[in-house]
Every structure is written in C-alpha cells, then in structure tokens.
C-alpha cells in the first residue's frame, strides 16, 4: 500500500511539472460571443452550427465560448445568463425549444444581444435585443429537387423506369411546417423537370435516429421509390441508398465520401453569414434585424458540389440557370400555377405567422401568383398538403 502511494505521489509530482506549459489564452479582439447548442458535434444539425460559429468568430477575431448539450429547459436560461456574466456581448442559441428561455435572459440583460435560430417570436415580441433568424432553405431544396428531376428523366430515357414509375421517397422527421415546406419545395423542383414525378413521405418522429431513418429509407425503396431524399440529421437514409444502389439527395452536407455511387447533391444552411452580420452589429452597437432571412444571395443557402458520376449530364448547368431565375425572381418555388391542393389551384391562404396557442391564421400569404414563404417571418410556415405527395404516416412531437 505504501509503495503504491509513493508511486502515485511521484506521478502527481511529474504531472505538476509537466503542467507548467499550458496556456489557453487566445489573442485578438476582447469581444466575446457565447453559443448555446442543443447537442454536440455528433449531431449533424449542431455540427453545422458549431462550424459556422467557429468560422464567423475566426473571421471577426472574436473569442467564442461554446456550451454544448444544453436542454430546452431552464438550463438554457442559466447558460445564457452565465455567458452574459462572463462578458459576452452576443449570445446565440440553435434549437427551437430554447426560444422562451433566451427571451427570459434577453429581458434580464438589455445590454447583451441575444439571437436565436429557427424561432418565431422576435417579430412580435418587441424586445430590442432579441432576434430570430432562418434561411430560405426551400430554395436550396428546390435546386436539389431540380437535380433529382433530371436524374429521374435520365432513368426514364434509358428505359429503366416508365414515366409513371418516377416516384421519389422522402424521409422526414416530423409532420411540421418546417419539414412540409422542405419536402414540398424539393418535390416541386423535381416536378419542374419531370412532370410525371410523384412522392411518398415516411416520418421518423425524431430529428436524429439513424436506425429509424435507415428503416424508413429501406421501406420507401421496397415501395418502389427510385430516388430518395431526407429532412433528418443522420446518415441512415444515405447508407440505405448506397446499399441498395438508389440515387440519393442528402441534407446538411455532402455524403459523397460514404456514398460515392449514389450521392447526387446536398443542400444546407450556412449560418456563417448571419453570425458574422449579427456579431459585427453587436460589436459596433448597430441594430440587428428582429427577424432575418438568409437567402441564396447572402450565401446562407448553399448546395454542395454535385457528384457528376451520379447526377444526370447537364445538371450543373441547369442548376446555375434555375439559381439565376430564383435570384432575379423569374422563378418562384411556390408558384401557385405549379401545384394544386385537392385538385384546386389556390388563390388565397391564411397562415399562422404570429404564433399563438389557438393557431389563429393571421396573415394572407398568397399574392402575385405565389406563396410568400419566409417573407412574413423567417421560420417556415408553408404547411399545405399538395397533390402528388402521399404521406405514408404522420409523426408529431
């Protein structure tokens, strides 16, 4: 026992000597930006935010303080207040359920700017230091849909499938406006190229569940879907596609390395432009928009490189062409002429833009022949069930 103790003490001494070199201080500006993330880098959703946070801080020479695995509870308020205590002039949270607790912190620290991704309340709250942000990711999904539609056309032309068999499978997380807006824009993109395209959606009931996503993709493939896409955060669906040799459009980043034979393209939100804009404004004491929507133009909506080995020939050029159309307004993703609901073309729709417990529809969102998504509020509110898309199940909460 004594020998052991002596050994341990010796080890301790050694480490205390070795310890003298460390220094965690970083140079640069003394402005600090705090970040609150629901999970850590093992979730592709949070990883996308973490990378953007680090990049934005690096570009601005700001010190980031990152807190991961913060629940959507009072813990979020505690984390935000703690970051403010540490002298952060800007605090950001990445998950929908963080919003109320960020508002609580914002009320308490009027001199600190609080920003929250995907939230819905800032535009009605009237708090000068609380802000929401999102991006018009439906435009990115529409572009990815164009690539999918061209792939379907290629399969039809080569005789692999008939036009009627051009069925897309989609793995969604929840039956919720954000996901509905996403799969509908993807479908409309595909349909703009391949008019006979149809789609089936299978929900998993989780933002991240590799097994469930893989199973959902396999189920869709067995149901004769010839192309798969997803709005869920794991590698489940891409892996199932690679195993079955079915072309895939993924989300949140390229899956080319793991799925070289099936990956076509992926869309994602790049949060760097927003964070740079908001942190810079906070540093200079300038006003930050209460509700900010990133677009293709701001660089917030991004497509990965197209995998030309899988994509149909001419995809790269076609996407550039459509992108230019979206930018100059000649193409609208939710053009009411492009879709019907229950066989009817819509001319009017009231959406619940100002969230309330009774879901009161409050804003007319169809005008000038298209559905104005992400214009009255950055977070998506398109929740129409359009013809051509079949929901195999529904999952809530």
């Amino acid at each position: 026992m004594k020998k052991l103790l002596a050994l341990a003490l010796a080890a301790l001494l050694l480490f205390s000597l070795a310890a003298c070199g460390g220094n965690t201080d970083k140079g640069g500006s003394d402005f600090k930006a705090g970040f609150i993330f629901l999970h850590d880098e093992n979730s592709t959703y949070d990883l996308n935010f973490i990378n953007a946070a680090k990049q934005a801080c690096k570009n601005l020479g700001v010190t980031p303080i990152i807190k991961t695995n913060i629940d959507e509870s009072n813990d979020c308020y505690e984390a935000a207040a703690d970051l403010a205590d540490q002298g952060c002039g800007f605090v950001f949270a990445d998950s929908f359920g963080h919003e109320d607790f960020m508002i609580k912190a914002a009320e308490q620290f009027p001199e600190v700017q609080f920003a929250h991704a995907t939230g819905t309340q800032a535009h009605t709250k009237g708090l000068a230091n609380f802000h929401n942000a999102f991006a018009s990711i439906y435009e990115g999904r529409y572009l990815a849909g164009v690539a999918a539609g061209m792939k379907l056309n290629e399969m039809i032309e080569s005789g692999k499938i008939t036009p009627e068999e051009a069925k897309i499978g989609y793995v969604g997380a929840f039956t919720y406006a954000e996901v509905i807006s996403g799969y509908t824009s993807f479908y409309l993109g595909a349909k703009s190229q391949c008019p006979s395209a149809t789609m089936e959606v299978q929900f998993t009931g989780s933002w991240y569940d590799e097994t469930a996503e893989k199973e959902a993709a396999t189920l869709l493939i067995n149901d004769k879907c010839v192309l798969i896409s997803q709005h869920a955060d794991s590698m489940g669906a891409p892996t199932a596609c690679e195993n079955a040799g079915v072309p895939d459009v993924s989300y949140n980043g390229s899956t080319k390395e793991a799925c070289p034979n099936t990956f076509i393209v992926s869309s994602r939100i790049d949060w760097t432009p927003y964070l740079e804009y908001a942190i810079k404004a906070a540093m200079n004491g300038e006003e930050i928009d209460a509700d900010w929507t990133g677009t293709l133009e701001t660089g917030s909506v991004a497509l990965t490189e197209i995998n030309t080995a899988v994509a149909a020939p001419g995809t790269v050029e076609k996407i550039e062409e459509v992108k230019a159309g979206l930018a100059d307004g000649s193409i609208k993703v939710f053009d009411t002429a492009a879709f019907t609901v229950g066989g009817e073309t819509l001319t009017s729709y009231l959406a619940d833009v100002d969230s309330d417990a009774a879901y009161t529809p409050d804003t007319e969102v169809i005008a000038d022949g298209y559905f104005h998504e992400s214009e009255h509020r950055s977070a998506p509110y398109f929740d129409l069930r359009i013809d051509g898309i079949t929901l195999l199940n529904e999952k809530f909460g």
Binding site: F15, Y176, A177, G397
Partner: protein, 369 residues
C-alpha cells in the same frame, strides 16, 4: 484438490470486516477520491495533453465560480435530492422503484395541465393550491399502480415501475403535441409567461430559494419519518423480512401501498418544483434522468436522507464541473462523463474496502506451508 492449487487460492483472502470506526471509513473514502483524481489525471494527460490541475480548477470554477453558478448548483442539488428522497422509503422496504422518472413526469404533467387549463379561470392562490394537489396526486397514483399489483399479485415491481416510465413519457409527448405552439412543433413553450399563473412564487434574486427550502424541509421530514416514526419502522421490517413482519402483526400489503403512495407523492412534488418552480414548461426530458440518478444517490448514502445531501451535491457538482470542462477545453462531453464515471466508480468501490478486508499472503508464507 492438490496441495499446490489450494495454496494458490489462498494468496488473496477476502473477509468481512467488523464495523470500522467512523474516522477510518471516512479516511478510506477520501483516499479513494484522491486515487480516482490521480487516475483521472493520468487519463487526461494521456488522451488530451491538457493540464489536469487546470481541468480540476475549471471544474470547481464551473460549479461554484459565480453566485449564479452556486444558486444553479443548489437548485440542481435540490431537484436531484427531492427525487432521491422520494425513492428512498421504497428502497428501504426493498421495493425497487425505478419508476421515479415517470412519476416525476406525471407530477409535472399534472402541474402543466392545470396551468394551461385553469390559468385564466381561477384566482392565483386557488390555482396554486390546485396545482400542488394535482401534482402530488398524479405522482402518487402513478406509483401506487405497481404497488397494488405487487401487494395483491406479487408482480415484479422492477419491471413494472420501469415500464411505467415509458408510458408516462408517451403520455407527456402526446399532450405536448396537443398543446404545442406553433402547431406541430412539439414544444409548449413557457406557460402563462405574462400572467405567471400557477408559478411558484420566486424568493430571492435567482428565484430558486423556495425550491431549496421545500426540499430542505422534506429532507428533515424524511429523516424523522424513517428513523423515528412507526411507519418508518414498519417499512424497514418489511424490507428485512416479510415473514417477520407478518409474524409481528404488520399488514405487509398496507405498508407496501402506503410507502409507494408516499414515494410517488414526493416524486409528484419534484415534478411540481420542476414545472411550476423552475422550467414553467414541460417536455419529455423535464425529469432529465434524475429518476435514475436518484437511485445512485440513495444507495451511495445508504438510504440516509442526511448523507443524501452530500451524495447529491457530489453528483451535481461533477455534472456542472464537467459541462464547464467541455466549454473551456473544447473537449467533448463524453470525456467529462468518463472523468465523472471514474470518480463515482472509485467512491462506490471504496465501500468494498470499508466492508471487507483484503489480505495478501506473502510468498514466504505460502512456501512455508
């Protein structure tokens, strides 16, 4: 058995100790913590190259570095302690209630339901009374169901209470969907944010004082209940031996049901404190695993409510410190979990050395035989 083999088996000899004096058992505990810190230091240096002393200093700073952090620490200790107090009488009766997570959730759901449904219908004081009663009843009902089955049909309470957790989670998920804002988002958000109807009043700057005081009172109550009350004596006897209990005229069924009612009611209080006193909303994660961590807190403290203050403090301290490590050093949370795991493993392991003595026979001795 040949002689050589018999000798080899006797090289290590483990035997039960007579009770150690208090200072000696505490010395063993302290030494085990020191040993665990040394092992953690080795692991930190090997795998991260960071300075272990800086890491330990960061842990302490993360847990108690600012007044806000101290309040947050105390609040979390109070919540964990409340659930631990709840499971303890059942454990002492050898009724393995691992359904505290679900019982807390049901208490919390009852609280949230009353806040949502009666928020603008009842006067504040009445609403608060309704919220308190509803949460306690909900927790008690969820706990008494497996107790009745155990008492009458002798079903396995471990499986039964465990399964009740999942049912509770799904019920909460269902109502969270029904009441979610915006529609389908699966989040209720802060309930009655403007009127604060049904919220426990906030005492002190950080608003956690009332929670802490309530749990402190419950701790004293539970200590007296287990140690000095007739109920406490009866449940201990049932735990030691049901036959003895029956022989001396204790109604075993009644004791099982009564104890689980108490256990569930306290879980309901924990749900109340979490929803009405802290989060003001409910999600499937409101209990945040405390129903399971409480089992460890209760066991480590040998079912003594006063020791449980220390064990829950230890665990919350480590959790808070671990979070700060991942922030400051950019290490993944899993690494902090490894450190916490090692320290807790050593503490649990120290109980072995307190209860047993290990003798190594020297080679000479063996040879002499």
């Amino acid at each position: 058995m040949n002689k050589e083999k018999a000798n080899r088996e006797q090289l290590v000899h483990i035997s039960k100790r007579a009770a150690l004096p208090g200072w000696k058992s505490w010395l063993i505990r302290v030494l085990s913590v020191v040993a665990s810190l040394i092992l953690c230091a080795v692991i930190i240096v090997l795998f991260t190259g960071d300075n272990p002393f800086q890491i330990y200093a960061t842990m302490i700073k993360g847990a108690v570095g600012t007044p806000r952090r101290i309040w947050g620490l105390l609040q979390n200790v109070a919540m964990l302690l409340c659930v631990s107090l709840a499971v303890t009488p059942a454990f002492k009766m050898r009724f393995w209630n691992i359904g505290a997570e679900g019982q807390v959730l049901m208490g919390g759901l009852a609280t949230a339901s009353c806040m949502i449904l009666f928020g603008d219908k009842l006067p504040p004081a009445v609403l608060l009374a309704v919220v308190v009663v509803a949460s306690i009843v909900a927790g008690a009902v969820w706990a008494v169901i497996p107790a009745v089955f155990k008492a009458i049909w002798n079903t396995n309470e471990t499986l039964f209470t465990l399964m009740m957790n999942y049912i509770a989670m799904q019920i909460v998920a269902y109502f969270v969907y029904i009441w979610s804002v915006p529609k389908g988002s699966g989040k209720i958000g802060v309930i009655n944010a403007t009127t604060q109807a049904g919220w426990l009043p906030a005492l002190g700057k950080h608003g956690y004082l009332l929670n802490i005081l309530i749990v402190a009172a419950l701790t004293v109550f539970m200590y007296i209940y287990l140690r000095f009350s007739k109920h406490g004596y009866e449940l201990t006897v049932v735990g030691e031996s049901e036959n003895t209990a029956r022989y001396i005229g204790i109604n075993v069924k009644k004791v099982i049901i009564r104890t689980m009612l108490l256990s569930g009611a306290l879980c309901g209080v924990a749900g109340l404190l979490l929803v009405s006193g802290t989060d003001h909303t409910i999600t499937r994660d409101t209990a945040a695993g405390r129903g399971f961590t409480a089992i460890m807190v209760s066991w480590l403290a040998k079912f003594n409510p006063l020791y449980m203050v220390l064990t829950s403090l230890l665990i919350v301290f480590m959790q808070k410190g671990a979070t700060e490590i991942s922030t400051v050093f950019g290490l993944n949370d899993s690494f902090s979990d490894i450190i916490t795991g090692i320290i807790i493993f050593f503490i649990i392991g120290s109980e072995f050395f307190i209860n047993y003595t290990v003798k190594f026979r020297s080679r000479k001795e063996v040879a002499a035989q």
